[in-house]
């Protein structure tokens, strides 16, 4: 079921107000808006400390047109799980009747790293909530430090491309797979270039009874070093190269929601980003080959999982 853009744009409300302080070209607010187009106004959102928290809420201003809570960096999932527990309790007691959605947001730092335990706990406990990770592949809010989501070879301020060590020396953690291992009813990867994909996935995630997780790639002009006009293009290329496959897992069944007609070489994505510039210097070819091999292996695995 494709999302009807006309219907969405005329019948649904934009629930993140303009005037926030996100960098030009940042897809973070786009992701929030897309998610809330799917969720609607009867939604409570929670945010981890990070870019989106900082840019949307500097007191006394807020961009949030739905109830919002931020508490700390590593506890967005736990905090929202408490809100959802309160909802269950008050609903049972007849003090509230509306159906309310609960969405926790966190960046990759707040999700892959410091908030992983809190996320795992909330998913395992079965709260009726959706967690959305906006993955910009490093600690962008504090100035582009490497996280466990940062790709192999990327130049960040704590994995700099130096004279001896050419950027990050580890492949990113596959967080989506970790969530799949939680056996929750809905898990997906999505990308903001494909509004239909993300809106549909959020709708599905909110329709299930229990926890859901969506990992959304969020290309960062500042941290990845590309022109701010290219964010959506970079998101699309990540999918076309199969670096960031779009798929979902419903009750353990894998479904790739978009298969590129022609899988592009990952170099096409890497070469547009300053954080990989050093990989195109002579002598670093093998690093790019390793990245390509890793992408190929993961994609093949995913195709196999889908065929099961």
């Amino acid at each position: 079921m494709a999302v009807n853009l006309k219907k969405i744009s005329t019948e649904r409300e934009i629930l993140l107000a303009p005037g926030h302080r996100a960098c030009a070209g940042c897809p973070g607010p786009v992701i929030i808006k897309q998610a809330l187009l799917a969720a609607g106004k009867d939604t409570v959102v929670g945010f981890a400390t990070g870019c989106m928290e900082v840019v949307t809420t500097i007191y006394p201003f807020t961009s949030h047109r739905v109830p919002y809570i931020h508490s700390a960096f590593e506890n967005s999932a736990a905090t929202v799980s408490g809100v959802e527990a309160a909802y269950r309790s008050l609903k049972r007691k007849g003090k509230i009747s509306k159906k309310i959605n609960f969405i926790a947001f966190g960046g990759d730092g707040g999700t892959y790293d410091i908030g992983l335990q809190s996320l795992s706990g909330a998913m395992e406990r079965g709260h009726n909530m959706l967690y959305i990770c906006y993955d910009n592949e490093a600690y962008m809010n504090t100035g582009i430090q490497r996280s466990s989501a940062t790709p192999y070879g990327a130049d960040t301020t704590t994995s700099p491309a130096g004279k001896v060590i050419p950027g990050k020396q580890q492949y990113p953690k596959d967080l989506t797979k970790i969530l799949i291992a939680h056996n929750i009813p809905y898990i997906a990867q999505s990308s903001p270039h494909n509004y239909s994909d993300i809106i549909e996935k959020v709708e599905k995630a909110l329709a299930v009874d229990g926890p859901a997780f969506i990992n959304v790639l969020s290309p960062c002009p500042l941290g990845w070093r590309f022109p701010y006009s290219d964010s959506i293009h970079l998101a699309k290329l990540a999918v076309e190269t199969c670096f960031w496959p779009l798929y979902e897992v419903v009750d353990g069944i894998y479904k790739i929601t978009y298969k590129p007609k022609e899988k592009k070489p990952v170099d096409e994505w890497l070469k547009l980003q300053g954080r990989f510039k050093h990989l195109f210097q002579p002598g670093n070819e093998q690093i790019r080959e390793k990245i390509q091999a890793h992408v190929d292996k993961k994609w093949e695995q995913l195709l196999k999982l889908e065929s099961l």
Partner: protein, 392 residues
């Protein structure tokens, strides 16, 4: 009507919680707190309460979940000890700054390291500046009474702060005592219903909790928080009177024992106050004019009440069950000296650190705090800090 129960401190805490009947309890097991959350879980499992029990994966998440629940508009509680409280630390401050009337029993246990599971006050003393009201309990009865009062204190519109009710690990938490309990309806009526002013779940009137608060407003918000803590002193007193009218057990910021004509007094918190009362009674029988001051409310610290209580004394000893490394004395001592400074009350004030890691203190050992005072008033000098019950 009063019910007489035989309960451990942990079970008394759980029983008070059952009668308060919070909407959400989020907790994580840690010795010696575990008894509270276990007993409460069985209340949930048996349908005695319809609380939403959130069995989190850490204390950090426990405090985070109750912050979420209280922001949502629910009455929310948690409970912990020592390292669990330390793991919550970051969110302990956030709970206070969001002005959420969460109630949390803290079963006092020594902070690591080295790891130790027994009682001292290092855990709750460590977060004395976090913005929580801190009420210390002397025994099982007070644990029960304090939890019920805490709900009403924290939710007062002039306060709106979280309240920590302490009970000494093992000494209170695991010892069975006689408890006079109120009827369920009496507790329900006493605590009333909680109606949050800005609940997150009011989706028609969306609010933003926890925005980034910078140089232009953070300071004003902290000033408001300061005022709320100041306001809480009168509220604690009033709730203590109301509770007294209901139960016959009256509460104040301080409890004074045989202080009317006392020349020397000892200050203690928690279960040690019971030991100190026993010693005072013994010494009174010996003809000594001694008394005891129990600090029930450590935050807010009862500065004026303490000045009034000690103004006729010749000497005062302060017992501390934790160390403030590098300070002049233990946390209680530093507060007491500061309260008396430049008030014209110029008497010897001695500090004794005792009972760390659960070491017992006996009335005989405690006597030194009085005998030293008798010498101090005659001009003998004592070290700034002395230790009771320490080998070597």
């Amino acid at each position: 009507m009063t019910k007489i129960l035989a309960l451990t401190g942990a079970d008394a805490a759980a029983e008070a919680m059952r009668q308060v009947h919070p909407d959400v309890v989020a907790a994580y097991p840690i010795t010696p707190q575990t008894g509270i959350v276990q007993t409460y879980s069985s209340f949930v499992a048996d349908g005695l309460v319809d609380t939403e029990m959130v069995t989190v994966e850490s204390e950090h998440s426990a405090m985070s979940a109750v912050v979420g629940a209280a922001s949502a508009g629910a009455r929310a509680m948690t409970a912990t000890s020592a390292n669990g409280l330390a793991l919550m630390w970051e969110i302990v401050y956030i709970a206070a700054s969001y002005r959420l009337p969460i109630v949390a029993p803290v079963v006092n246990r020594a902070l690591s390291g080295p790891i130790n599971i027994h009682c001292d006050h290092s855990d709750s003393m460590g977060c004395r500046d976090s913005g929580w009201i801190q009420l210390f309990s002397e025994n099982t009865q007070e644990t029960y009474d304090n939890i019920i009062q805490a709900v009403k204190i924290g939710e007062n519109k002039d306060v709106m702060l979280p309240v920590m009710i302490t009970l000494d690990g093992f000494i209170i938490s695991h010892v069975m005592e006689r408890v006079e309990a109120l009827e369920d309806e009496e507790v329900s009526k006493f605590v009333g219903t909680f109606t949050a002013k800005y609940p997150l779940l009011d989706v028609d009137n969306p609010v933003t909790y926890g925005p980034l608060d910078l140089q232009d407003y953070y300071f004003e918000h902290k000033r408001q928080q300061y005022q709320a803590m100041q306001n809480s002193a009168d509220v604690i007193k009033n709730v203590g009177k109301e509770f007294g009218a209901l139960s016959g057990r009256y509460y104040d910021l301080l409890e004074l024992h045989k202080m009317e004509d006392a020349e020397f007094a000892i200050i203690a918190l928690g279960s040690t106050a019971g030991t100190a009362k026993y010693l005072v009674d013994q010494m009174r029988n010996e003809g000594k004019k001694v008394g005891m001051i129990k600090i029930r409310s450590f935050r807010p610290f009862p500065i004026e009440d303490l000045r009034l209580a000690v103004k006729k004394l010749k000497g005062l000893s302060v017992l501390d069950r934790s160390i403030s490394f590098g300070a002049k004395g233990g946390p209680v001592f530093v507060e007491v000296e500061s309260a008396l400074f430049r008030t014209g009350i110029d008497i010897p004030v001695l500090n004794y650190i005792y009972g760390l890691g659960g070491r017992d203190i006996t009335p005989t050992e405690m006597r030194i705090s009085f005998s030293d005072l008798e010498k101090a008033v005659k001009g003998e000098k004592f070290p700034a800090v002395q230790f009771i019950g320490l080998r070597g």
